[in-house]
Subunit: 231 residues, 2 copies
DNA sequence: TCCAGGCGCGAACACTGTTCGTAACACGAC
DNA sequence: GTCGTGTTACGAACAGTGTTCGCGCCTGGA
């Protein structure tokens, strides 16, 4: 019946005051979850996995985080905190919008699958996400758009960016079997070529929509939206 | 040790030759799954639930469907089969594109959450989905776009449509607690109003992005993209 | 010194997708 | 008509998942 010694904050002289295992906190949990996410994708971020990484059980997390959904929200907000919002400049607002959304995309691609969580939570909850939204709206207003048009445009632009990030993230991440999709691609191509006169455009477009053209396609999408915004 | 009687195709005289329970098939499984989806959303479509609806166990489904992912693909393709593709007319191709994508959106909204599966499967697999894509490409080509621009535009437009459908579907469906999001909304509003000078644009845009303006916002997004496509 | 309240966490519950092995069936060959 | 034989049906089980319960421990304040 040995009483367990306290493992943390022991004032042992020959040891730094730094505790061996930092105490649990929402922030630590979110950081750990993001570490897993970066390396292995969103589906690897389970409550058990995060807890295991912290040397404990899943129940311990629920004292700091309401549920998995809230953990996801916090992860997304923290990730987006790395994007630095620009100061609106009316003369180059278009370039600033493109830059801002490209940076957001890059962050989301670095955290494969994180974009999915933005659909589960309808309202932008965290301060970082709110700040990004405010900045985008400010840029659009600087471009001369009305309140309503700016709001609608910001909605459409972020929706497109998130959707693109989600798609590319799923594509790149090992979430789906690479051999399987190659087989599917070949089968689909054979199916199309069997009646090639029925699919004149699809056959030509197939090889344009690849991972290699992703950057180009995203820029294209932003360009047509921004151009369409101001005649 | 009573030997079980065969339940199907029993030639009992006092009963019609119609089998009481139709035999299992991929088509029947997909139809059943779609019935559940329409009523209760995508998350209610579990293998057990579909099997139960057919009066059997989950293992029975795997003889006709490779896995849940393939079932989702088949459901999506079947649902999109209800959208009638138009004959391209060069003089009103823009209106035709808007009509086509709006019809797709309506179908997806009628099947809450179905849009989510389009991200899990990178390649459009079913004949109906392929036909929709071919039609969209044909419309854009009729508008005078090059092969590459048409392909990129189709990619961006469908991505936007699917993202919008997904978002609206999650929003409308009972997937998330309505009371919870109202609370979140109020908290967020309070947070913003506490430092209202920091959030001039967000505070104004908040009430514009609602379920009521969904139709309007979708049309706005399509409009700016189509306008931006041709100067 | 005591004590209340938050925190840690093992165990369990109710789910999920999927596989295994066996039983029943339909159908063509002899 | 009888006998394989391959396909279909499906109960049971496995390995996961998110989440909750309940009981100890520790800590901060009185």
């Amino acid at each position: 019946m040995s009483s367990r010694l306290p493992l943390v904050n022991l004032p042992v002289p020959w040891r730094s005051t730094e505790p061996a295992r930092p105490r649990l906190s929402a922030d630590l949990i979110v950081r750990t979850a993001l570490d897993i996410l970066v390396g292995e994708g969103i589906d690897a971020v389970t409550m058990r996995r995060v807890a295991h990484e912290l040397g404990t059980g899943p129940a311990s997390l629920y004292a700091h985080v309401a549920n998995k959904s809230e953990l996801h929200d916090l992860m997304y907000d923290r990730a987006l905190g790395a994007v630095e919002p620009p100061k609106p400049d009316a003369r180059r607002w278009r370039a600033q919008v493109k830059r801002l959304l490209s940076d957001q995309l890059a962050i989301m691609l670095a955290h494969p699958g994180i974009a999915r969580v933005t659909w589960a939570t309808m309202i932008p909850v965290g301060p970082n996400v709110l700040r990004q939204g405010e900045t985008l709206l400010a840029l659009l207003r600087a471009g001369g758009l009305s309140t309503r048009r700016a709001a609608y445009a910001a909605d459409a632009l972020t929706l497109y960016t998130k959707a693109f990030a989600y798609e590319a993230g799923v594509w790149s991440s090992g979430e789906l079997d690479q051999a399987e999709i190659a087989k599917r691609g070949a089968q689909t191509r054979a199916y199309l070529e069997a009646n090639s006169e029925d699919w004149p455009n699809t056959l030509g477009a197939g090889e344009l929509i690849t991972a290699e053209t992703a950057r180009e396609r995203f820029a294209f999408g932003l360009d047509i939206m921004l151009r369409g915004l101001t005649r």
